[in-house]
Symmetry: C2
Subunit: 353 residues, 2 copies
């Protein structure tokens, strides 16, 4: 049920039956306010998506709006998969990172880590993130944080995050065109290209590494790259639960390491995503991972909605939505806990009933 | 260095060298706004005390004001002791419970558990707490929470909390007059008695257990009693780091158990306080604990400022301040980690230099 994309299968085998903390990095970038750039949420209220995703994963309900996030065509957030797995094989803990939310999630009693951040700017106008300080915040957090579990599963919800990820990878010099996923089956390439071109037009030859990141990145990418650098020495396994955005986190870290020559050992880190990302012909996760200077373990969960007759879930199998809110990593965790495709499918269907 | 007040010494011996999570329950009650009721903070800004205590323990600095909380005569908050211990023998984690703060603490990256609470009302006008819901919130949190450490040390910062604790104990029928501590060496009994009489005048014969609690209690007392009930079955040791307020938490729980006949095993729970509370002739911690229907382990840290020549610290030894922000429990934890009185004294003195 768990397939290897790159690296070794023993890393993930060792996590069988082990308990996990699910940490969810939540952030808003004003890039998502550009009309048509993302379908990760309700038009006009897309800024609420990470807030609602956090609430739904933690509590099974949304408190800051009356309905779960879905695309304009009604496809529900992949948070349903993460929540379904949590109900069937509960995480030891769920913790949230507020990396600049417009509206903080209402999740009574859950551990929320705040970093004093507001939403970042739109990359078509220069996101104006102080990337050095943010990266160091991530690193300091990684140096100080230990999960209460055998390993950490780290997911994200950042609307328009694939656009900021693509811009970031390109700005850092990676040949990443056509390699980034999208919440759309057929990504709106004209809007996305206009935004990308505008974003890249703000870059100058004199920009430092952090200047570049601060113009075209988002808080999740920069903070998480710093976090991995700070946390990797602690030795507990970290599974990045996501697709091309999490690959971009690794690319950011990789670029930082090239620039500083700091030592880094990725052997305690892996990436886990969905089959929908793995099989997406419009993106190339494996290609992104192969650009790294260090070897990385990466896996996907061999899960689809073939067992479901629900028309909205069938759209996942047609390439809509694909990943987010740690869905792929949660499915991998679920399989490691002995869950089966049928029970996960039924649990997700129950949310839509 | 650790002395037994009630119960067995083997409980605390078993915690030697074990790592701990320090959790701090922070709350405001409008009772503290009554002039002269407490000296736990700067007059006119006493509502900031728990916020600043949380910030100082976590970060060593205060962000919501320019100075640490102190009494009008300049005695610094007992948070200095908790912080000194954390610097010398770091806790595995510090987590904050926001149980209704006027101003949330600015503690980037720390785990904060929010419960959607505002400060509670003043008990002289009926605190109007929905005590049943709050108790159940505490219980649910206890059932779901596991520390990432061998044991949990649970402290509090609630200005005027000894007044609400005394009112609560009396309202629940305990013969608790003269048994509760105060942040003053010579408690302002006339103000306190006026407030107590007013508070108790709101009680009616028809009041249920929760009606009573909701009129004269505070959020920390009620939530923590529920928390202990939910958490005690998990089996990890819980050390209530505090004096008579934490004793009142146990009295609240004890009254609940009388009322419901629910089973409860206190063998995983203890209380740890300061020598200043233990030796206080104006209160009687041991007497409060002996009112419980279950046996409880209780200890104090044999620590004073005899090694210091600092005039403000000498006031602790004269009975000012005495306890709070988990100071006594932190000192006990420090001794269990092998710290000595001299190094703790020096660290506290360094904050005042």
């Amino acid at each position: 049920m768990i397939q290897t994309i790159t690296g070794r299968s023993d890393f993930i085998e060792r996590l069988k039956g082990k308990n996990a903390t699910f940490m969810l990095a939540l952030s808003n970038t004003d890039t998502a306010l550009i009309a048509g750039i993302t379908q990760a949420g309700i038009p006009g209220q897309i800024y609420l998506t990470p807030t609602l995703d956090g609430e739904f994963v933690c509590t099974g309900a949304v408190h800051s709006l009356t309905q779960i996030p879905k695309t304009p065509t009604g496809i529900p957030t992949p948070a349903l998969l993460s929540r379904a797995v949590h109900l069937l094989a509960p995480f030891n803990a769920i913790e949230l990172l507020n990396l600049g939310l417009t509206i903080p999630p209402k999740v009574e009693g859950f551990c929320v880590h705040d970093f004093g951040l507001s939403p970042s700017g739109s990359i078509d106008q220069n996101a104006q993130i102080d990337a050095r300080i943010l990266f160091e915040k991530g690193r300091a957090f990684g140096e100080n944080y230990t999960p209460k579990s055998d390993y950490l599963l780290l997911g994200e919800s950042v609307p328009s995050g694939t656009t900021t990820a693509l811009a970031t990878a390109l700005a850092l010099g990676y040949e990443a065109h056509e390699k980034f996923s999208s919440s759309f089956a057929h990504a709106p390439s004209s809007i996305k290209h206009t935004v990308l071109n505008k974003a890249l037009s703000h870059l100058k030859k004199s920009d430092t590494f952090f200047d570049t990141l601060g113009k075209v990145g988002d808080h999740m990418l920069i903070f998480t790259a710093g976090f991995l650098l700070g946390a990797h020495r602690k030795g507990y396994p970290i599974v990045l639960a996501g697709g091309t955005q999490m690959a971009c986190v690794l690319l950011v870290l990789n670029a930082f390491l090239r620039y500083t020559n700091e030592p880094f050992d990725a052997s305690s880190i892996a990436l886990a995503t969905t089959k929908w990302v793995h099989e997406d012909t419009n993106s190339d996760l494996k290609g992104l991972l192969e650009m790294l200077d260090f070897p990385i373990n990466a896996y996907y969960a061999n899960f689809d909605f073939a067992l479901s007759s629900h028309p909205l879930l069938a759209l996942y199998d047609k390439g809509e939505a694909k990943e987010g809110v740690g869905a792929g990593g949660c499915l991998v965790y679920g399989f490691l806990q002995g869950l089966e495709k049928a029970s996960i499918t039924q649990k997700v269907e129950a949310f839509l009933a």
